[in-house]
Subunit: 127 residues, 2 copies
DNA sequence: CTAATTGCAAACAGTTTGCAGGCGT
DNA sequence: ACGCCTGCAAACTGTTTGCAATTAG
């Protein structure tokens, strides 16, 4: 039989995603989880995250020019906002894609990704 | 005085972008340019590309989960199509962003990126 | 001639993997 | 006690940088 184990490192990693409700990078997760497991290795974070992706608990969030972040799976279709000041990523409800794309013949669209970049509410009042 | 030189490696690199009218990765550029300069080093390609970006001749094209590609600068606003079969990237004319975004208060959008993913015309008839 | 440019290899950052010891079960 | 899991270090990929040799002007 398999025999998946419950370890404090995995719990700490899962908790990071529960506590912070926005896409997190492996480094962010590691920093957060180290508050509970100080000697936590980054490799363990990667292994745990990849497992959780396989199990369908997490979803990778790839943004242009950014390292992969991860967020809880099962959220309904949405897009992302990337703050160029604090580098945080936020979920934005709803779909921003135009209805009528009018593409050249032969392009078969399976998926679309939209990223808005700018300043988030927290950073905005610095300007 | 400065003293920018014309070398066959730079010409070969520039020609790659002139001959192939779609965003190219440094590796693609290197492979293409090596047809003319077989001993061309990848570091030279990176250096030339970065210079051309500084000079405003090229523009970086970052797509989710992909290495940076580059395309000639000065094209008017457009978006990109990424073929998941052949991994090529194509420019698509026009803007696909909805007019009325209706974001939560405080999010200040400076820029947006849209990537469509699917099969390109060449790959499409394999299905 | 002489300094910008190249090619190679070493240095880096992010991610993955191998392995010996640690720890759930 | 068994063997999954962790931490560390080594391996890897994409990109940048240092340096001696090459070469454009």
């Amino acid at each position: 039989m398999t025999a998946k184990r419950n370890t404090k490192q995995k719990s700490a990693i899962e908790e990071a995603f529960t506590n912070i409700q926005r896409p997190l990078s492996p480094t962010e997760v590691c920093d957060l989880a180290r508050k509970q497991v100080p000697r936590l290795g980054i490799a363990t974070v990667y292994r745990a995250i990849n497992e959780m992706v396989e199990e369908g608990l997490l979803r990778p969030v790839d943004l242009p020019g950014q390292n992969t972040r991860y967020e809880k799976a099962g959220l309904h279709h949405h897009h992302h906002f990337h703050c160029s000041s604090c580098d945080k990523v936020f979920d934005l409800e709803g779909c921003f894609l135009k209805k009528d794309l009018n593409l050249p013949k032969g392009f078969d669209v399976i998926q679309h990704d939209i990223t808005l970049t700018g300043h988030c509410p927290d950073c905005n009042h610095d300007f």
